[in-house]
Symmetry: C2
Subunit: 109 residues, 2 copies
DNA sequence: AGAACACTTTACCATTTGGTTAAGTATATC
DNA sequence: GATATACTTAACCAAATGGTAAAGTGTTCT
């Protein structure tokens, strides 16, 4: 089972709970992008994008780096993989227990 | 690919972004529980639990039903499975693209 | 009928979100 | 050196969260 603190999960799920942030993640699948390049597609001001990036960065999904006057944003594969594994494990556990429960209910109506 | 609207994902991820709500989900793995039985384990008042249940219910993860004076809460397997599938698909896509990207970067340093 | 139970609703509170505009800072470019 | 770029910061705002206490409603028990 992957180590993933409760707090990490809070931040992770919260980061993914906003459509603009999920779009940012999708946009970063092609590779790193400048912060300014992320704003135009969404009808948001730069400060708004910065806040979303900060939340994504705080969750560990995105990492940023400033080179010159440009801040580049990229996905952090490790954290993404951690998230994927936790989700796979947890949902498998859920479905397993639910399957056991429904079997039990079938046999003991 | 599973159909799962953007709005559903917002609600779903948001519902999972709170530790108390995840604990409620875990508690419901054993089967249905009365609303009042969910409050004591967490140091929360009943109205607080009700709000969390409302959010979980709105996300489709939990369904509730009132029998007599008791409101029973249970997990909604279908929605859970939808969520699991979406997460599996999406994270697979992420890792695939990231793998392709890292291969590309290896070949074009 | 009257009391006990299990929520529900209402009203309230501090904090966080998600967004804005406007002014400030650091880095390139001419 | 002056100017344009590309963020940053600050200040502000409406709405949503996550919680509380207290009063209200509908069921069940005796």
């Amino acid at each position: 089972m992957v180590k993933c603190s409760e707090d990490n999960l809070d931040k992770l799920f919260f980061a993914l709970s906003d459509p603009n942030r999920r779009h940012v993640v999708t946009a970063l699948l092609d590779g790193e992008k400048a912060l300014g390049d992320l704003a135009p597609p969404f009808k948001m001001t730069i400060p708004a994008v910065m806040k979303h990036i900060a939340i994504l960065e705080n969750s560990g999904i995105v990492r940023t780096e400033k080179r010159g006057r440009v801040r580049y944003c990229r996905l952090e594969p490790d954290q993404l993989e951690l998230a994927r594994e936790w989700l796979a494990d947890t949902t498998r556990m859920w479905t397993d227990r639910l399957r056991a429960l429904s079997l039990y209910l079938e046999e003991n109506p």
